[in-house]
Structure formats: C-alpha cells, structure tokens
C-alpha cells in the first residue's frame, strides 16, 4: 500500500487525511492504529470522534513541531511498524502446521494485528498475500479474515475475500467462499452466487451454491 497526500490542518481535530493508493481494495482510513471497538465503518460522526481522539493522541506522542513533516514521519513510522509486524507474523507462519478445525498461532496474531491497526492491516495483508505466499498460509489467512469479529474492518474483509474468490486455485476460491460465509453478513450471498455462476469446477460450484444458501 502506498500512502499518499497527508493533509495537515491547524485544528487538532483534523491532523491528517490519508488516502490509500488506487490499487487498494479496502476503504481509506486514517493510518493511526485504531481500536475496533471505537469505530463504526458506516457512521461519519463516529469517525469524527475517532479522529479527534487520535489527533489528541498524536499531539501527545509527536514533537511540538506542528509542521507537516512531523506528521509524515509519524505516518511512515506507523506504516513501517505495521509492515514489520506483518512480516514477522508471516515469517512465523512458515514454521507452523495448520490443521483443519484447530486454532493456529498465526490466526491469533493476525487477529491481534487487525484489532490494533484496523483497516490498514487488511489492506496491507491483502497486498502481502498477493506476493507469492505459500497456499496453506494464504488459506489460513483467508479463514482468519472470515472468523475475526472486528466490526470496523468488515468492509475491507468482504472486499478482500470477494477478490480471492476469483483466484486461479480452486482451494483458494473455496477458502474465500467459506470465509465469506463465516463473516455472517447478508452481503456475502451475492458474491458467493456470482462466484458459483462462473465456477468451472463442478464440486466447487456446488459448494459455493451451498455456501450462498447458508448465508443468513
């Protein structure tokens, strides 16, 4: 993810507005780590509050320098921290054996990361998953995205999982479909029905149809 266009205002309630690059699938959100329980994806008023709180935190944490350079440095640092943590988690996953139905350390760490960084971590994870990661780690990550209950990241997780429904590998498409069901949101049905409609693998097509029927 490329972070662009930090806009700095004098008011502490609007310190920085960050836009992910256009290749991002997740909606734009402030880069500052955000606790999921403080946010609602769809309520701008809540975002105002979140930004105000974050702005106050930022002012406490950053130098007295009100210039944009300090803010840029901080945003870069936060992005680097997220990337480094993600690298660490994915590196650890290479040495873990995943078993159907059994919790994994990888999933636990991902949940913690997403809970702390919010939407940015979903965008960053999606980018990282596209960079040639082992399929069993990818499948575990998709499952984790479906099972986690971080409301503020729901839109991003739906977008990411819908994207992976179009992957070349049937195992990945199946994992994305299962994860969409696990999100437990009605919007998943449309994605699953569309995927079933174009699915060439008969077994997977039937499974995707079943998953779509099971969405509430």
């Amino acid at each position: 993810m490329t972070i662009t266009a930090a806009r700095v205002q004098s008011s502490p309630t609007r310190i920085a507005v960050l836009k992910p690059s256009t290749d991002s699938t997740a909606p734009a959100r402030p880069l500052r780590p955000v606790r999921p329980d403080q946010t609602s994806t769809h309520d701008p008023a809540v975002w105002d509050i979140v930004w105000t709180v974050n702005a106050a935190k930022l002012q406490m944490l950053e130098s007295a320098d009100e210039g944009s350079t300090a803010v840029h440095v901080s945003e870069d640092a936060a992005a680097k921290t997220l990337d480094a943590e993600l690298d660490h988690i994915l590196a650890g996953a290479q040495y873990e054996e995943f078993e159907e139905g059994m919790s994994s350390e990888f999933e636990g760490r991902l949940k913690t990361l997403v809970g702390y960084y919010g939407e940015q971590s979903i965008t960053a994870l999606h980018a990282r998953l596209q960079s040639g990661i082992k399929s069993h780690i990818l499948i575990e990550a998709l499952g984790a995205l479906g099972r986690m209950r971080v409301r503020a990241t729901l839109a991003g997780r739906v977008a990411v999982l819908a994207r992976w429904l179009g992957n070349d590998a049937a195992s990945v498409r199946y994992a994305a479909g299962c994860a969409l069901l696990d999100l437990d949101v009605p919007i998943a049905r449309g994605f699953l029905e569309r995927a079933a409609g174009v699915e060439q693998n008969q077994l997977l097509r039937e499974s995707l149809r079943k998953l779509a029927r099971l969405v509430r």
């Binding site: 159907e100 139905g101 195992s171 299962c178 069901l181 008969q202 077994l203 499974s207």
Partner: protein, 167 residues
C-alpha cells in the same frame, strides 16, 4: 458395500494442479494425512450411516468452527492394497461413531502413496463437505438430541454449543 470415511481438506482435493502428469496425484496430499506411528484413522460407515455424522463427531473435538471435508471410498481399496485394518475405539464426541473407528496400520511410504493415488482417482464422486454453519447446527442438534457428549467436546465447542442450545 463397506464404505470407509477419511477426513481430508476438501479444498486441496478439488482440482489437479496444471503441472500434474496424467494419472498422478499431488504430493501435498500426504501432508494432510497426519499419520501417527504409521497408522491412519478412518471410519467404517454402516450401511445406513451418513458421512456427515462422522464429520460432526470429529468437529466436536476441534477448537474452532470450520468447514469439514471427507472422502468416502470402498473398503476394497484398502484390502486390495493389503493394508492392515484394525478396529480401535474412536475418540470423538459421538459414542456411536467411536465404534466405527478403524486404524489403517503398518503403512509404508509405498502403501500410503498407492492408497492416496487410488483415492485421488475417485475423488470427484467421493468427496463431501460440511460448511461451518452445518457443523455448528450438527453439534448443537446432536447435543440437544442426546447423541453427542458435550463434556467430551473441546472447551471452545462446549461454549459455542451452550450458547446456542434452545432454552
């Protein structure tokens, strides 16, 4: 026909990778078999039994709700490869399913490879799966109906079932 049930990751068994030679089977299937002391757990399904019951019985021992896959195949595949099969009590949350448990024993690299190869060839007609929601419903209904043992379940499943039992 005597049918055997083997739990497999459904997604991995869905398609042949493009590089796979005709008649071959992907090596990664061996990873997921999880042999223990050269033995492999399977279940001998009675004539009227559904494989779904085994999948749910096994899911009760797991720590997270997840889709569950299996392959059901003729016992002749095992006997034809001269693989030893022994009745041993299962460790699921369904005492009836426990009686269906069998171990394929004294497996060698050669016999496992031949076994997986045979299963891969029949998979399109032999694979099955339950979605996570079906597993959840099966566990809750099984406890509610009295044929699944709540106290044998993984703590996470016990919590989930208790939260979903009708009041």
């Amino acid at each position: 026909m005597n049918r055997l049930y083997l739990g497999v990751p459904f997604g991995i068994w869905l398609e042949s990778p493009p590089w796979l030679p005709a008649g071959g089977a992907p090596g990664e299937l061996l990873d997921d078999l999880r042999l223990d002391e050269s033995e492999l757990s399977v279940f001998l399904l009675p004539e009227d039994a559904e494989p779904q019951r085994v999948a749910i019985a096994l899911a009760g021992k797991r720590s997270r709700l997840e889709a569950s896959g299996w392959i059901v195949f003729d016992l002749e595949i095992v006997t034809g490869l001269a693989i030893e099969i022994t009745k041993t009590k299962g460790q699921t949350v369904d005492p009836v399913v426990d009686e269906w448990h069998r171990d394929l024993r004294k497996l060698t690299v050669n016999s496992v490879a031949a076994f997986v190869h045979r299963l891969w060839a029949i998979r399109e007609k032999a694979l099955g799966n339950l979605a996570s929601k079906e597993v959840k419903a099966g566990l809750v209904n099984g406890v509610n109906g009295g044929h699944l043992k709540l106290d044998l379940m993984h703590q996470a499943m016990q919590t989930m079932v208790k939260a979903n039992l009708p009041r």
